[in-house]
């Protein structure tokens, strides 16, 4: 294979880029997915007082700042030996679940649903949120906008701000919830549950009601038998805010379950010569390249993986939906990448119910919102389930609490190897020798990518449903570009 030398610095923008190489026979030889940008957070956090990291690291991502805020908060708790109070933890978890519900909403309705509702081969000008609203009616659009606006209002009530929240402190949060605020939080949580059920109804009608889409979801082209990772509570149920990390093998059997503090024993990060983004794999299995199966350390995270890695959901409506999901899709584990969209809606329902449960707890308005630091321990690891996968924040400090080392594994990074594999498999299945490489066809390739809801240094989200992405098809031996499709509004 011709050596692929790519200098992303010369590329136009710092966003996701897919390169598909075809050989002399017109068959897909390889696919590369690149991240051409570096911002340097892990380095510039070093030297800062560790408590600032709860407000620096959210700036990694405007889409999921709450995830970084919470992972940082938990790592900082550990650095200060400050165990959160019950109410402090509840308020954090309410904020976090409300955010997870809002984020899943955005992904499903703005990024993913247009493919199914408007159709994968539709004109890109219609294959967006506006086309979606045209299909399902303006009322649905209004509900989505309200879901986003209200969820962010909740985040602002507890977090102080709606984007880049600030309110966690070592051992809890900085501000109690007033009775009036608690009433509003409850009202928003009720709406979230109602909205989640509405979202599942849309999915039933539009996707499950169409056998063509069900076949597409279940087709081998979009499947990989990998390991799956997710945070679980003490009953092995999905939990976004707290718990141990459980990994199941491609047969669905528990491979390992470990405490967040032990993550370095179980995950190794690998660098490839063409991307800024590392490729983590399971140390206990080893790196065998971009392949699936039991002998390959490639694992997946995020909704598909979390449902596979857990034994169920801790809330009743979500548990019922969880059971229907596995019954419909042929039992555990589900390997179909596109099933991630349904898994995401199961989680949306769970997050909303969890917010509702916590908001109804009488202790939610207690003023016992944080504990006091017991000293400086020198190290802290914080793990949460970000919408796009398990998020690890790991800090070390000196005796004064200044950061001396910082390592982050962000949600999407977990899926980096799997994304490349899924793209290659989809491209090989879709691009035929001599066939025309149309926009619609490349969109179907891209659907393999979109299911992961990738968020590369916050690079792949934009308004109105179009990821800023360039797909280039090149001749393998010469590197000549045969076709390029760029996505933007």
């Amino acid at each position: 294979m011709k050596k692929v030398s790519i200098d992303p610095i010369t590329r136009l923008e710092g966003h996701g880029k897919i390169e598909i190489f075809v050989d002399d026979n017109g068959e897909v030889a390889n696919v590369y997915f690149q991240i051409p940008e570096l911002r340097g957070f892990e380095r510039f956090c070093v030297g800062r007082p560790v408590e600032e990291l709860a407000r620096i690291t959210p700036r990694i991502c405007g889409v999921c700042p709450e995830a970084h805020h919470m992972a940082a908060a938990k790592a900082i708790d550990a650095c200060y030996g400050a165990e959160p109070t019950r109410t402090g933890k509840m308020l954090r978890e309410i904020l976090y679940n409300a955010f997870s519900a809002a984020d899943h909403t955005t992904h499903f309705f703005v990024l993913a649903a247009p493919d199914f509702v408007v159709g994968p081969m539709a004109d890109p000008a219609e294959r967006n949120i506006l086309g979606l609203i045209a299909k399902v009616g303006p009322e649905a659009g209004g509900k989505v906008i309200q879901m986003r606006a209200w969820s962010h209002e909740l985040i602002e009530i507890i977090g102080g701000r709606s984007v880049h929240p600030v309110s966690t402190v070592p051992g809890g949060v900085s501000k109690p919830l007033s009775k009036e605020e608690a009433a509003r939080v409850k009202e928003i949580a009720d709406y979230q549950v109602e909205f989640a059920q509405f979202a599942i109804e849309i999915f039933n009608q539009v996707v499950l009601g169409n056998s063509e889409y069900v076949d597409l979801i279940m087709s081998d082209m979009y499947a990989h038998k990998t390991y799956y990772m997710g945070v679980v509570d003490e009953n092995n149920k999905v939990n976004f805010y707290d718990g141990d990390i459980r990994v199941v093998d491609p047969d669905g059997k528990e491979f390992v379950k470990f405490a967040p503090d032990d993550y370095l024993q179980h995950i190794t990060e690998r660098v490839e010569p063409y991307s800024y983004l590392v490729y983590p794999y399971l140390t206990g299995v080893g790196w065998k390249g971009f392949v699936d199966g039991k002998d390959s350390g490639v694992y997946r995270a995020a909704p598909l993986a979390r449902l596979n890695a857990a034994d169920g959901m801790s809330t009743p409506l979500a548990q019922a939906e969880y059971e229907r999901y596995f019954e419909t899709l042929g039992g555990k584990p589900v390997h179909a990448t596109l099933a991630t969209h349904w898994a995401r809606l199961v989680e949306l329902l769970y997050a909303a119910e969890r917010t509702q449960d916590l908001a109804n707890d009488p202790d939610v308005t207690s003023t016992d919102i944080h504990s006091m630091p017991t000293g400086i321990t020198g190290e802290g690891i914080g793990v949460v389930e970000a919408p796009r996968g398990t998020l690890y924040h790991h800090y070390k400090t000196d005796e004064n609490g200044f950061v001396t080392a910082c390592n982050l594994i962000v949600g999407t990074t977990n899926n980096n190897a799997a994304i490349s594999m899924s793209l290659k498999k989809a491209a090989q299945g879709l691009i035929q020798p001599g066939g025309e490489i149309s926009e619609g066809l490349l969109n179907e390739v891209e659907m393999a990518f979109r299911a992961y809801d990738p968020c590369f240094g916050c690079a792949t989200h934009t308004l109105f449903g179009e990821m800023p992405l360039e797909v280039a098809v090149r001749e393998q031996s010469t590197g000549e570009v045969l076709n390029t499709v760029r996505r933007f509004v």
């Binding site: 610095i9 136009l12 340097g40 600032e52 620096i56 906008i145 309200q146 709606s162 934009t462």
Partner: protein, 250 residues
């Protein structure tokens, strides 16, 4: 005359400012669309790049020399350029790397000599092109952005605050962080955010940058005397969102 054409572009950033703009709720958002036409969102340089724009919003830092040409092209097409968000106005949090030169080795270890893993210092976009208006903040205050657009639609000069966050804390009767035994940057930080952080019990980090002509020595003195900081920490405190401004004053 048709509706003014508005376009959005982004460079090195987290896109939180775009997200903030989606949180208006239905009414203001749809109403705004009655008055402006959003013609482009990002990556617009790849196709029809010659169409003139009335207002160009630019998000993100200028951190790669290769982005200069793209910025110049936007400037050429746009009657008004608004830098929005702290990355675009001052370099923002990205500028935290500007005083370090080993971040590549730090992030990638022994793999760091791979040629593509390069990056440069981060500045506001006015390091490359002329900017007409600045919408500060990490993220922007969406209502302030709305005000800026409304003023421009009416042919008025937008009013960008040049007073400190302390003013806004007084207005909403927030108890001073220093009286709570904490520290704060509010006395030199540019207002316009309505001071939500001190109201939530968290010190102001000056995410909108400094006011014009901040008294940095006085800030450092207060941080040392009132908050018990070491002189070095007091000096570095301001770096979080204002690294470039700090560089310029020291």
């Amino acid at each position: 005359m048709g509706k003014p054409k508005v376009a959005f572009f982004d460079f090195a950033c987290c896109e939180g400012c775009q997200i903030e703009m989606t949180n208006y709720g239905a009414e203001p958002f749809l109403e705004l669309l009655n008055h402006v036409e959003i013609v482009e969102f990002r990556e617009a340089m790849t196709e029809k790049t010659t169409e003139p724009i009335d207002i160009a919003f630019i998000e993100g830092s200028f951190t790669r020399e290769c982005d200069r040409a793209r910025l110049e092209e936007i400037r050429e097409r746009a009657a008004i350029v608004i830098a929005y968000g702290q990355c675009a106005t001052t370099g923002g949090i990205n500028a935290l790397k500007n005083h370090q030169d080993d971040y590549k080795e730090y992030v990638y270890g022994t793999d760091s000599d791979m040629p593509h893993l390069d990056s440069q210092k981060a500045y506001g976009v006015d390091a490359a092109i002329k900017v007409d208006y600045y919408a500060y903040g990490c993220p922007v205050n969406k209502y302030e952005v709305l005000q800026i657009v409304l003023h421009l639609l009416h042919g008025k000069e937008p009013v960008i605050p040049n007073y400190p966050v302390c003013v806004e804390c007084k207005r909403r009767e927030t108890v001073c962080r220093f009286l709570e035994g904490d520290h704060c940057m509010g006395m030199v930080a540019r207002a316009g955010c309505t001071a939500p952080c001190p109201a939530a019990g968290i010190p102001c980090e000056a995410c909108r940058g400094f006011v014009d002509d901040p008294n940095i020595p006085a800030l450092e003195k207060v941080l040392v005397e009132q908050a018990g900081f070491t002189p070095q920490r007091a000096h570095e405190k301001g770096r979080m969102f204002t690294a470039n401004a700090l560089e310029a004053t020291s």
